[in-house]
């Protein structure tokens, strides 16, 4: 059976094409303003990468913040359930998920692939990709370089502000105090790692944790998170598509 999953996320839209148990193609693209247009575009490109036509697809399912805008999908599933399915497909022994997305972060506790409990932070940019994006800007480093830079620090600065906007001004005042870029970067990474680790502990994540979302690609942040959570985190080969993958699997 050929199935497709669309994850219409707040920052990026993802599409996955699945043929039985094999990933045939996928596409990740910035969402922009229009959820429907973004989802149509990634779907088309994912089909192209799979060498398939939309008529070959027997089922399309949507998830993500803009899931209801994906008009060509007959049904939707919540992001939490979708990530759980996707992660369980890739790591059957997973007992927890940490997802740091562009505008939210979530932690999910799993038992035999089922969601037992979860926590979401989506009311505040603290602990999300947005936090890194803003603060990296104040440091004048590309967001992808923030984690690597942090790894070079010997004496991380202390960032006490939880608010993204105020953290940005805190960065500026740390620069005025002549802290090195590395130390400020390390402070920022530590701040987000601590924030997410608190959520993980509250829900009861202990071991066999999978880290997903765009931020998972950042080695420095992964290392900081592992230290704070106190266990190794595994990252899928493409950590941004587990939601779309779960959507494709949902009605199978």
């Amino acid at each position: 059976m050929i199935a497709a999953g669309i994850d219409a996320g707040a920052a990026t839209t993802k599409a996955v094409i699945l043929k039985d148990n094999a990933l045939e193609g996928y596409k990740i693209s910035p969402t922009g303003f229009d959820f429907l247009k973004a989802s149509k575009d990634v779907y088309r490109d994912a089909l192209k990468s799979a060498g398939l036509k939309s008529r070959d697809v027997e089922m399309v399912w949507a998830t993500g913040y803009g899931k209801n805008s994906v008009k060509f999908a007959p049904g939707t599933v919540s992001e939490i359930t979708a990530h759980a399915r996707g992660v369980n497909f890739l790591f059957p022994d997973a007992q927890g998920i940490i997802d740091i997305g562009g505008q939210d972060s979530k932690v999910i506790l799993l038992e035999k692939g089922r969601v037992i409990d979860f926590l979401m932070n989506d009311k505040c940019a603290a602990g999300t990709g947005k936090f890194l994006e803003y603060t990296a800007r104040a440091l004048e480093v590309p967001i992808d370089g923030l984690g690597e830079l942090a790894l070079l620090s010997k004496n991380p600065a202390s960032i006490s502000s939880m608010c993204t906007v105020f953290a940005e001004s805190e960065v500026i005042s740390l620069r005025a105090k002549e802290f090195s870029k590395e130390d400020i970067a390390a402070g920022l990474v530590l701040s987000i790692a601590q924030r997410v680790a608190v959520m993980a502990k509250r829900v009861g994540l202990r071991r066999n944790i999978i880290l997903v979302g765009g931020v998972a690609k950042n080695a420095g942040i992964k290392a900081a998170l592992e230290k704070e959570v106190g266990t190794e985190l595994r990252v899928p080969f493409e950590p941004q598509i587990t939601g779309a993958l779960g959507a494709a699997l949902y009605k199978r």
């Binding site: 913040y65 939490i80 969601v115 409990d117 979860f118 009311k123």
Partner: protein, 382 residues
């Protein structure tokens, strides 16, 4: 699927009707008090020949006016209630006239935000504060509370010039108990699977229980129970959800609306707009003031310590109503209920009952985000 009951149409126009009734009766010399809390015994008010309406604010639009006086990070119920008093532009707002209707506010020493708000309120409307012992489980606390109720009784007597006799108190206890029994009968019906009445419809009645006259409330409850008892429900419904936590004052149906729109079936509310308002009867055979003190001091509010009675009742209700999951609902900055969440979560975990915590205010800004959590929670329960 449960549809709206015909008997609920009785509540259409009930608001205007009640305001009219209070205005007319006040012209004739009847006193009206405004209340904010379950701890204030209706029986003492009515026994003095006084009428009452509840003044808890559930509307978002009165909050900006309140924020000129109160800090932003205060509970929305407190801000909304206070805003209704100080709103300069009363026209078109149906919250404001309530305060113009009352001769006195009967407040109570529950949470800090309310206590301090009442001090400010007193500058606008005469305000009496009923004190509450904060450790309610000791004999001394009961004794103290009895004394406070006596003082409250005297206050009502002074307000009206009427004497509150035991005979009148007994009559009012019987009447309030009858209302409580009717609510119990309504809740009994919700134990069936699926229940014959929607949670949001029950909430409509609960939110008006201290607003309507007792007679109107009882008549409505009887009709609703009669109709609901005759309904044969069919299967095909979402997970059974119990709401537990902060009150949902009139005008605030945000979270229950989201839960039902996403396919959840609300079967019980452990809340001031829920079982806390009617769960214990007052003893009709005892001395009436002692009976009232004993009944009211048992209300398990999160401003009390310890408050194990509440945790126990959540577990008991989860069994009685066969709930699949609990939505722990709190208002922002409500420290009591927000902190008590931890205890409730632990006990529910032990019992194998999933819980979703939602902390929110009266604005619409987070409706979609709450919706995502509710979707995921309902999927988790299926």
């Amino acid at each position: 699927m449960t549809c709206e009951l015909k008997s609920l149409k009785r509540l259409n126009g009930a608001y205007e009707e009640r305001i009219g009734q209070l205005v007319r009766n006040r012209k004739k010399g009847k006193k009206v008090v405004g209340t904010f809390c379950l701890y204030v015994p209706d029986e003492i008010i009515f026994a003095a020949g006084v009428d009452r309406i509840i003044l808890c604010g559930g509307r978002n639009d009165t909050i900006p006016a309140a924020e000129e006086y109160l800090p932003r990070n205060v509970c929305p119920l407190v801000k909304s209630s206070f805003g209704a008093v100080v709103s300069k532009d009363c026209e078109g707002s149906c919250a404001c006239p309530h305060f113009a209707l009352v001769d006195m506010i009967v407040a109570e020493a529950t949470c800090d935000a309310k206590k301090k708000m009442y001090e400010l309120l007193g500058e606008h409307v005469p305000t009496y504060v009923l004190d509450l012992p904060q450790k309610p489980d000791s004999p001394e606390a009961l004794q103290y509370f009895k004394g406070e109720l006596e003082k409250f009784k005297e206050t009502m007597e002074r307000l009206t010039g009427n004497r509150i006799t035991d005979v009148r108190l007994r009559k009012e206890i019987k009447r309030s108990n009858e209302t409580r029994r009717l609510f119990m009968r309504l809740y009994e019906l919700r134990r069936t699977d699926p229940p014959p009445i929607k949670g949001s419809d029950v909430l409509k009645i609960l939110q008006k229980q201290f607003f309507l006259s007792p007679d109107k409330l009882q008549k409505t409850l009887r009709k609703v129970c009669d109709e609901a008892e005759g309904i044969k429900t069919s299967s095909g419904h979402g997970p059974r959800i119990m709401l537990s936590g902060c009150p949902m004052a009139g005008g605030n149906t945000k979270v229950p609306d989201i839960i039902e729109a996403r396919g959840g079936t609300i079967v019980a509310e452990e809340s001031c707009t829920g079982t806390r308002s009617f769960e214990n009867l007052a003893d009709e055979d005892k001395g009436p003031m002692a009976a009232l003190a004993e009944r009211y001091i048992k209300i398990p509010c999160a401003c009390m310590t310890p408050n194990d009675r509440r945790v126990d009742s959540i577990i008991e209700m989860a069994g009685q109503f066969r709930v699949d999951g609990v939505v722990y609902y709190t208002l922002q900055s409500c420290h009591g209920y927000n902190i008590e969440r931890y205890k409730v979560q632990q006990v529910l975990r032990k019992a194998g009952i999933p819980m979703l915590a939602i902390e929110t205010d009266y604005s619409d800004s987070d409706v979609e985000q709450i919706g995502i959590r509710v979707d995921a929670f309902l999927e988790m329960l299926q």
